[in-house]
Amino acid sequence: MDPIILYKIILAVVVFAVSLGVAAYMTWGERKLAAILQDRVGPDRAGPLGLLQPIADGLKMIFKEEFIPAQSNKWLFILGPSFFMLTACMTGAVVPWGSGLEIGGLYYPMQVTDINIGLLYLLGVVSIGVYGIMIGGWASNNKYAMLGALRASSQMISYEIAMGLSLIALVMTTGTLSLAEIARQQDEGLAYVVYQPLGFLIFLICAFAETNRAPFDLPESESELVGGFHTEYSSMKLGFFLFAEYINMFISSAVMATLYFGGYNFPFQHELGLEGNTLAIVQAVVLLLKIFIFIFIFMWVRWTLPRFRYDQLMNLGWKVLLPLALANIFITGLVMYFTGKLA
């Protein structure tokens, strides 16, 4: 077999396994962090510091009763969480995890694939993810699930517009949609958050809304909708819904780090005397550290801010973020015009 294809297969499996592993330990991290913020101990029974808790949870999910309500559409009910999980796992394909490894004279970039429409691929896959929630909530034939699914879909599509617009201002400065190229440009210049602070802020807020995290967790708001779109779900199907949310969080943190915070690059990386493969591995570790900082912010916000009301959520998306994102494009265009960056 062609070594490149073999490498791509290995890398795809590794990226997939790392996403799953990080997502599993994010559940542990979230519970530990919540415990610290609320002056509790958190999980401490399964293994030292409760470190085996995610494995115990996963096994429990698998062995739980698989329940499909009698009035639901059976196949759609199964399709919902499967689809949600599938799309969550596929977004990691375009994120560059490091510059590249050189093994046996061949150069292997640490990115599953560098397509020239990387950003559009990301937006596309993220918007397909809405279907998972919609199908699952509708198929349950439960009022809470129905309301949760409606809220989820209208929330996610509303914030997708502001997200797309905030990325346009970034694309204007980069001139490319390829994530590898954007990361490479930040090696030569400054991180793009310096040029696009407002764009980053809009993207961050939209990422919270797209992953249904607090303060945007209206679709599953447990105090009013029981469990929202996953009220009727149990066993690993529920597990998929919850787990995919953590994978989405991981990937959106990776995307934010790549687009706005230099990706795998770190300051003075070429002055340290690190070469080739060592540098690539250090870069991957640095990217993971950046991702963990974002994940920490996601969790910190969840345990700090109360949930929005529905009209506040819609007003923020349509009447604040959308005009702000347009203004950001306007300002970016004018600044580039007056600094003579145009042809």
Partner: protein, 123 residues
Amino acid sequence: MNTTAHLWDYLPILIMAIVALGFVITVMALTHAVGPRRKNAVKDDPFECGIPVQGNARTPFSIKYFLVAILFVLFDVEVIFMYPWAVNFRELGVFGLWEMFAFMGLMIIGLVYIIRRGALKWE
């Protein structure tokens, strides 16, 4: 810079999809196989906090959700139009800049119109 598209570049995405799909199917089959199943009439009812089920869940819902979906389609198409422009922003120069500002102006007029008509008013 990678400016030409090859179908070849999309093969790893297919590999990724197969890996993810394999995982999803395996776990779904596993949980189906090992989980117990104890059905009864009450459990099969849709969950409504313990009270008897009232009617069907698939009743008509607020038209506002539908309106938001329609507006999303409108605005998302406009956003997609802006991507090719943003990529070629530098080459298109000043003319492209003013043209896109005119486009964005129309978009803002549309937004103001739907807000004025109360399409985004929730109560």
